[in-house]
Symmetry: C2
Subunit: 180 residues, 2 copies
DNA sequence: GCTTAATGTAACTATTTTTATTACATTCAA
DNA sequence: TTGAATGTAATAAAAATAGTTACATTAAGC
């Protein structure tokens, strides 16, 4: 080890004595994401024949209607859906193949400005490793998050909804067979 | 809409009436991951000249020593490090280029069996969309998580530690210049 | 215009998860 | 045998997410 590091170590083998740290940021991939996709599938499935309200969606997804309204609000703010204020009901605002998982993911704020990884906030600046760990890691964490987001861009609501209708069709055909 | 769906809808435009739901699973990418990588960098930087104890690591990372010990325990269980019980101190158990981010990520259990995404647990089984949403989504969520994990496999502790030493060297060279 | 049904949101509570802390038995080396 | 360190249980504190209640606002139909 060189002299500078040795000097640090000699100070008592400890870098302690920093102030307490606050934390912040979104750290998890919220169920808002899967709920949002569920919402799209419901609007597509039922929207032609029925008004799709937050109450209705809540009963399919089994969460509180206010949760649904908040997510609807976020999807609306991102320009992905329309929501009819007084009379009620939601509809999809864009062609399904132009809405990617990443669009939805970002709309519902599963990832904040701090990124996907929760970094221990205040490594010691008295330690040479602590001082530099952010420089070393930040770019690589971004790289990983980027890989994930690129994969999310490959999947669209069209894919999901095609599969959904396929499964539903399978169900009703089975039911018809059982009746016969 | 076909007859089966219409029948469902006619029941009152709602799929309500299911039991309450429990939740489970790891939902976030814990700071254990960045802490673990920080630990490797510290062992590499200081391990040759000093005993690297949980107390020492805690003072560089600025978290409680018990948190460090738990993470050391997980890294040890995964065969990535050795920890000396009575006398103290940790060391790295494998060549640095054979320890990937994914190894570390899995060792510290950032992702549980349920996967990275938090799925709303009990969509209504009275709703055709609710009944099938898991079939539709599970595979695609795995696909996204897989992309992330493949990227994590590309990065090794060797990369991180080379960068760390590079930054530290830069610091000490700067300091030398300032003294001159 | 009045009524009705729905959205938009604020305020608050509850639940869950994560992180921190205290305490102590266990271990190993000198 | 002593001392310094790990391993871990039990618990507390903090943070984040989700759930709930309440109500003002909005739009459509009568």
């Amino acid at each position: 080890m060189d002299k500078a590091l040795s000097a640090v170590m000699a100070e008592g083998l400890s870098f302690s004595g920093q102030e307490k740290f606050e934390r912040s940021g979104v750290m998890q991939i919220s169920s808002r994401f899967t709920i949002a996709i569920h919402i799209f599938a419901c609007i597509d499935t039922f929207g032609k024949d029925h008004k799709v309200t937050s109450e209705f969606l809540a009963s399919s997804i089994c969460v509180n209607p206010v949760i649904i309204r908040r997510i609807l609000g976020q999807l609306k703010a991102a320009g992905l859906i329309h929501v009819q204020r007084g009379s009620g009901g939601a509809s999809i605002a864009r062609p399904l193949n132009e809405i990617t998982f990443l669009d939805v993911y970002r709309a519902v704020e599963c990832v904040g400005a701090e990124g996907l990884f929760h970094f221990h906030k205040h490594p010691s600046d008295k330690c040479p490793v602590g001082r530099n760990i952010h420089h070393v890691l930040d770019g690589r964490l971004d790289q990983i998050q980027g890989a994930m987001e690129r994969e999310m861009e490959k999947i669209t609501m069209d894919d999901v909804i095609r599969d959904t209708q396929h499964y539903i069709k399978g169900e009703t055909e089975n039911a018809a067979l059982n009746e016969a």
